[in-house]
Symmetry: C2
Subunit: 348 residues, 2 copies
Amino acid sequence: MTSESTAPATASQLDVFEDLRRRVDARLESVLTESESDASRRAKDAVDTVVQVRDLTMRGGKRLRPAMLLAAVECVVEWKTLAAAVVDTSCGIELLQTYLLIHDDWMDGDAVRRGGPTVHVSLAKRYNDDHLGASAAILAGDFASALAQDMALSPSVPKARLFDVARAFITMQREVVLGQTLDVLNSSDLEAIHDLKTGSYTVRGPIALGHALAGGSPEQWSALEAFANPLGVAFQLRDDLIGAFGDEKETGKSAASDLRQAKMSAPVRWALERLPEAKKSELRSVLGTDQYVRAQELLIESGAPEGVERRIDELEAKALAALESPALRREGARLLARLAALMCKRKK
Amino acid sequence: MTSESTAPATASQLDVFEDLRRRVDARLESVLTESESDASRRAKDAVDTVVQVRDLTMRGGKRLRPAMLLAAVECVVEWKTLAAAVVDTSCGIELLQTYLLIHDDWMDGDAVRRGGPTVHVSLAKRYNDDHLGASAAILAGDFASALAQDMALSPSVPKARLFDVARAFITMQREVVLGQTLDVLNSSDLEAIHDLKTGSYTVRGPIALGHALAGGSPEQWSALEAFANPLGVAFQLRDDLIGAFGDEKETGKSAASDLRQAKMSAPVRWALERLPEAKKSELRSVLGTDQYVRAQELLIESGAPEGVERRIDELEAKALAALESPALRREGARLLARLAALMCKRKK
């Protein structure tokens, strides 16, 4: 088995992800409906925030992180032997993302997320008060965080593995919060942001959870980590390109939001390192304003899109090479390779 | 043993709490110092938020919740047999409180906490920007939340009890977040706020954690819950009196903050139910303004302080009666009785 090549997944393997997506959506729907009824009974006036958690969570379509978790489990054992736990911990990751997105969107002042209004915007409108809307949004995030823990540490997780699953879930949170702090403070330490923010909770975190859930070995972890780290950076670079050039209709996020917020993203840094002095100054002066079209022109002139694309390709190749490790089951490695391709080429 | 009366704790039992406080403080100091070094290495620009978490946590002197947890453990087994886990889960509760306080203080616009500036105020000053300060404060809270989970589910917790400890810890969070949401939205459902907000994470939550950690029986839980619920309400009523009449120097919080925020607290509700129409209108008009001295006069005129005090006494008596249960070890019941007295009589 271990000598098979890491070829792209076949149609039946893609169905694994579609199957998982449906199971995760159904489970999330059921858990969030239950939370809503519970809040209606015990804290009626707080039910709006639970409804917001539900709406935002159910609008998240891709469920890439659950797919990553499942593929990591499949690198160790057949995921079907742990199906209920894979679905529950996947819901934990999705709810963790809901929590982080709600808080991030308020911090960044974003109005649109997943093709709908952000939670703080909805609630500010609902209560006709910006601070109250923001406060209720932060609490909606905090509620999603508690629910995320509930699902990640659910009764379906084998008791003997609960400790390791908890560690993986907590590590992911510590890292992503530090990464988001760097991001909000506009730190120039891009590598740390990439590693801690997106890398951690998009790739390494879900994979670490899958590995813990499946009871994987240290050798398997070494191979999985060597896959996860470059892929996490590649994912963030793709995010940076989308944040600079993506349009709202396609991404479900505000257009060119990173440029309007003057984020030190990878394409911006590329341009600032390569443009001649006058254009560098011009770029600096249009960042953080509404003149994002001019900022985009300057990035293109600097060759940033191609430069960042090349770096993404290199990182993807590095991630794929790690999957050749004989420690990993081929079935899982193939699924991870397919996900790497999806993540590096996505448009939203 | 079970026929012994529930007399106040002796001097040597008080030393148990003092001993615990020292151990919890030392462990918190060590964990937070480690987190700070870790952040310095991996996310240098985010270290301020970790320092804020540390400062606020270390300024919390009473450690009443850890004492409650220890006493609940002692109702089931000798706490010394689980000393490391009692200290670690106690740190988890204290860090949970740090998380909740940081978020609450920003929502309530409070400037003072535990005798120092609140985190959002410190960070706004540090970054010379209110929104950035608030964002970094929310993230400081989120970081404390992750750290709280790390300590509550630490390696010292017996593996066979980790699942129950996790459930207790998560339930507490779900409840307190719903309670805080009601509070922020100024819900008129005071009972739900008392039960979910303060009751849950001050009394019932720590006791549930202690019970789970010690592997207690359902009978022991029934008795502990019958103690916790009335005491939780009594604690909240005391909080409401302090929030209306306490002064900043003694409480470490802004003076009369509940009156200035027009909170529907127990003394306010008492007065609104009993004052004659004209004074009722006057009270309504001064609530939420700087005229809190007049609001205090009106509350006193209505008999609110004595009325609420009487209710606290009744609730304390009810809580103490539950401790007579033969299911509980007398050593633990005595500690809980002592804590009930401390909580009902405190001035801050």
